[in-house]
């Protein structure tokens, strides 16, 4: 408890600050990976499937 000042609340017993940072970075990494796949990856099939979405969201497309 004393070693986890970030989580000095009710959930401190189950959540440490390390877990918080790991979860946050995990989510951001996964988000970046998906975003790269939908918005930027170049294989023709991915490009064609995501084409209208890419243009609408203003990703550079072709």
């Amino acid at each position: 408890m004393l070693n986890t000042p970030l989580n000095a609340g009710v959930r401190s017993s189950s959540t440490t600050s390390l877990q918080t940072v790991a979860a946050a970075f995990g989510a951001m990494l996964l988000g970046a990976f998906i975003l790269f796949g939908v918005g930027f990856a170049q294989p023709q099939a991915i490009h064609d499937a995501a084409h209208d979405g890419r243009h609408s969201f203003a990703f550079p497309c072709h």
Partner: protein, 242 residues
């Protein structure tokens, strides 16, 4: 449930909601313009159309705005597939941005709710829609541009630098960190976005302008929805603080 699973669930729900909203609005705003622009894309080069070339002699080479190709016949199945794939792409974009937003919310650790989430959403809109669009306006098919890799790299740099700058403005205590954030956000724009030597698009500029504004408008709507939803859902995920 572990923290990551709760975070993931919040991001996915917020992403699916905002991606669905964006899909509906896109089908009546940006998508019709994309389909129309594709007809200009298939027009043969003006060299092969001497009459059009003479008529547009005052225009720059390569501009033959007047005659789009007739719309290609599309079967219902093809149309459905295209809409379906676009919706899937939008949902994935929603989930991806949701994960990035929720992760950042958790990392920053400031309390959130639907209203504060809306402010986060406005920040996301500025970073991932407005800042890149200032240098690289939303493009229609058939618009000319610099090399794709260069544009993609600049787009990502502009978005990340703007996001970093906004986070510094919003949460940093040290004024030097805030100043560094402002400089960081400005940097890609000082360097400048990659543009072709001469514009070579075949899409009428009026149509391109309409598309740019609609695309930015849909993005604003999407980010407002994503931010509010993410804030409301993350309220329960954030570790409690006293």
């Amino acid at each position: 449930m572990t923290l990551f699973r709760r975070l993931f669930l919040a991001a996915v729900v917020a992403g699916v909601l905002s991606g669905t909203a964006a899909s509906v609005v896109q089908q009546v705003t940006t998508v019709p313009l994309i389909l129309e622009a594709e007809r200009y894309e298939t027009v043969p080069a003006p060299v092969a159309a001497p009459a059009a070339n003479a008529e547009h002699a005052h225009n720059q080479a390569g501009h033959a705005h007047s005659a789009p190709a007739p719309a290609e016949a599309v079967t219902t199945a093809e149309a459905f597939q295209r809409v379906g794939l676009t919706v899937v792409a939008n949902l994935l974009v929603g989930v991806a941005y949701g994960l990035l937003l929720a992760g950042t919310m958790l990392l920053v650790g400031a309390p959130v709710d639907a209203r504060r989430g809306l402010v986060w959403g406005i920040g996301g809109f500025i970073a991932f829609a407005l800042a890149p669009a200032v240098g690289l306006p939303p493009e229609l098919p058939g618009m000319g541009g610099a090399a794709l890799e260069a544009r993609q790299a600049w787009w990502i740099a502009a978005a990340l630098c703007a996001a970093g700058g906004l986070l510094a403005l919003g949460f940093a205590k040290n004024r030097f960190v805030i100043a560094a954030g402002v400089v960081l956000a400005a940097l890609p724009h000082v360097i400048g976005a990659p543009h072709p030597e001469s514009p070579e698009g075949v899409v009428p500029p009026e149509m391109a302008a309409r598309f740019a504004v609609l695309s930015i408008g849909v993005a604003a709507l999407f980010w407002a929805a994503l931010g509010s939803a993410c804030g409301a859902l993350m309220q329960r995920v954030m570790p409690a603080r006293r």
